[in-house]
Symmetry: none
Subunit: 162 residues, 2 copies
């Protein structure tokens, strides 16, 4: 699975009173090159205190992969259960949200809480997927490289200036 179009770059956008956020245009363009959906899938990131996001096609790909794995292992009860659990996490624990003509989504309240997103959302491209952070949480996370934190600080300053 080598995806042609990769997510990259960073941006810091505001979450307004209604819970709306603009998805950065450079991320949207990747989504639309990968397929014709104007939709993103949101999930809690499995390791970091942030959200993971990708296009619907990527979710389908992930699903197909799981299916093939199951058909190989098959009848083992353990394998069956793990398949069920993964499927639940991959689909029930995610939300698909469309963005409108101006590129905004309505951040679902559940995801907003899972990601502890306040009134600022930091978008980070990570190749196959991208991440959405509360910038303050990123700065606090010891596992995040200092260079990346510098970028977050820069984006914050940039915003304060205007």
């Amino acid at each position: 699975m080598a995806l042609e179009h990769l997510f990259q770059g960073s941006a810091l956008n505001a979450v307004d009173g209604k819970g709306r956020v603009s998805i950065p245009a450079f991320l949207r363009s990747v989504i639309e090159r990968r397929g014709d959906a104007r939709t993103i899938v949101l999930a809690k990131h499995e390791a970091f205190a942030c959200l993971s996001a990708y296009d619907p096609g990527y979710a389908a790909l992930k699903h197909a992969k799981l299916e093939r794995l199951l058909e190989k292992e098959e009848t083992s009860p353990d394998a069956q259960l793990e398949y069920q659990q993964r499927n639940l996490m991959a689909f029930a624990a995610t939300e698909e949200v469309p963005y409108d003509s101006s590129g905004r989504i309505l951040m679902p309240p559940m995801m907003r809480r899972k990601g502890e997103i306040g009134d600022l959302a930091l978008f980070l491209g990570t190749g196959e997927t991208f991440q959405v952070w509360n910038p303050e949480l990123l700065l606090k996370d010891a596992r995040i490289p200092e260079d990346l934190k510098d970028i977050a600080r820069f984006r914050l300053d940039e915003r304060r200036a205007s």
Copy 2:
């Protein structure tokens, strides 16, 4: 078999005094994209204490899959028996119910008992199919990932708040 449209997301809806439940709009849209039926098929889930649901087209697909499996294993009496059993479960032990113009089904009493559904129904997308749970039973099930239980709790809180 790679289905194009997958069920995903979660929602907690009320079962009213008449036994009616709204199928969440985001699940209905998948059903209607997969075919033109405004109908769902309900079955007892084979592993969990919940119901499994899907569109009528998927039932046909499942049948074809069983057939192919039988042809591979062929004349083994064990395989024959298992085929018969699975076929029975796939068709006799299911109920097909249409939803009305406002997206509600009348939950069949038998299924309601099989799934131990009370006055709240938790819908969970799982890709090819979706599940319908009594939220309390999900919270009690040790095999369900904790992250997913968090989602169930969130949906319950959300409802209490309003």
